[in-house]
Symmetry: C2
Subunit: 327 residues, 2 copies
Amino acid sequence: MTTIKDVAKKAGVSVATVSRFLNNSGYVSTEAAQAVTVAVEELKYELNPIARSLNTKKSNLIGLILPDITNPFFPELARAVEDVALTYGYTVVLCNSDEDPEKEKNYIETLKKKYIAGFIVTSNQLDAPHYANANVPIVALDRTINEKIPTVSSNNKEGAIMGTNALLERGCKHILFLRGPEKLNPANDRYEGFMEAIQRSNVRYQVVTCPFHFADSQKIVERILQENPLIDGIFASSDVSAAGALKAAGTAGKHVPDELQIVGFDGVAMGAMLSPGLTTVAQDVYKMGAVATRVLIKRIENKKIEQNFYEVPVKLVIRGTTRSVVE
Amino acid sequence: MTTIKDVAKKAGVSVATVSRFLNNSGYVSTEAAQAVTVAVEELKYELNPIARSLNTKKSNLIGLILPDITNPFFPELARAVEDVALTYGYTVVLCNSDEDPEKEKNYIETLKKKYIAGFIVTSNQLDAPHYANANVPIVALDRTINEKIPTVSSNNKEGAIMGTNALLERGCKHILFLRGPEKLNPANDRYEGFMEAIQRSNVRYQVVTCPFHFADSQKIVERILQENPLIDGIFASSDVSAAGALKAAGTAGKHVPDELQIVGFDGVAMGAMLSPGLTTVAQDVYKMGAVATRVLIKRIENKKIEQNFYEVPVKLVIRGTTRSVVE
DNA sequence: CTGAAAGCGCTTACAG
DNA sequence: CTGAAAGCGCTTACAG
């Protein structure tokens, strides 16, 4: 392995000069710079990041803490994070927390020992002390806000209004809203949006809390469809729930979209594969991840960030679970 | 930050002794051990992994190189890798390669500078020099074999035989096989399995190469269904292709499973959400990841591994795209 | 503008 | 069984 010493010797300068040149810190004469450039070139030298970390107490690792990469929402997020991290020379460490505060805490501590540069986290425990006292740059994703921690999330409320209106414009007269878990920020924002839009109309509605889980959603919707045959529109807070609702419509013998229209939320790839294709309020998950990562890197590099809250716009994707608009 | 020096001072021994004790290397008297244990306890001391890496040229990072975490096959794999890595005290770095040899090479080089402990890789370029000369433990997943690199994969051929037989036993008389990309090892094994099973029967068949891509698969199947209305069974080499086939059946007006039966391969979660639910040959992806990680860690820790090739059994999951067995 | 030297927090021969 | 010392490969005051 070639070290900074080798370069110094070859260039006829001290290691301090090589270091200063490579890090662009402190003065280096043009001649010295020249010599070092040549030596680096010839030896194909690159700084050893570990030795460097030991001194600077900084690495170029970014920790990505999320509940479970297996949840269809997260792979794309992870992809975005990794893509922009790579662009800026950072490496990402994957951490599945299962929403368990202990696991989150452990990750934070283990990685801090490795001088991690910062964290991107999706968690409901953002008010936990291990975040507040982490003493390392953090950006929160999607779920929560803590005044000190920059957050990026979708325009959930706006999206829910769009989704609700989509059903309204298509003639629904009795809408079922599948509300997500009550402690989830985005789920609550979506609920708010739904309420705002539905109350502006004179349409009847019903709200049911429903986990973001396929089989559970299916069961819940099957029951409700039986109890209330008048329901002709379902707005689900997630695509997985919407898929459950679609399946339930099948078992209940309700034709979609003729008798029952369905709109989901998320925009995961699976939606297009369903029959009929799922109309949904699509989040730009990739963008969320990309924005979060850029914000984090700015914080890491002590650049000013303009704001503490970033909203990524959401988009209505019309597919087969809705009919054409009623004029 | 408390260092090994603090511990040494508190315990009244030298840092060398503390280090030996903590690493379980070399002799340490019972009294010294006692004193160190107490000091470590009181100071809540933990070794600094970076300083350690600089000396030992080893870290506890594992690199997970895969084409794209966004592909439904990989999240579960990543989850398994992370789970068992965590158990053994390793941390996983996520690397999306897009099957690009340059990206793979870059990851390997960047991470080697961080003294990465080993790699788990899914790639078609496993014969590339950057793997052969990586000089770091590697375990290959799913895709390829290189005599020197331990590989874990599904029992693809066996699975394809099971899938084909499922269709045969259910009375299919003209089967379409959606073959995956020709350079993919697993796709070829599945092809072999299909051929073996189909040729044992007297049933007519047709083979078409088809990427693991939803919309493309749909298009291809739509065309073929039109050309050949006799097809009453489709065996797809992946669930995504099967989903495309199912969609195509819908547009072609073919009732599934009455007129057309479909079997997929993979066992991704989306399969259950389709209507009807997708019958498929399910891989135990989690197990593949877990086995691969355990094998890798054994190699990292210089323990003997019993074999160089691990096959994880596959399982037929019957859902709604197939009928009941014909007696 | 530059280099000698100390230091980051460990590990590991080596001498005792 | 133990400790002093060198070394891993860098960075960073400091003196010049």
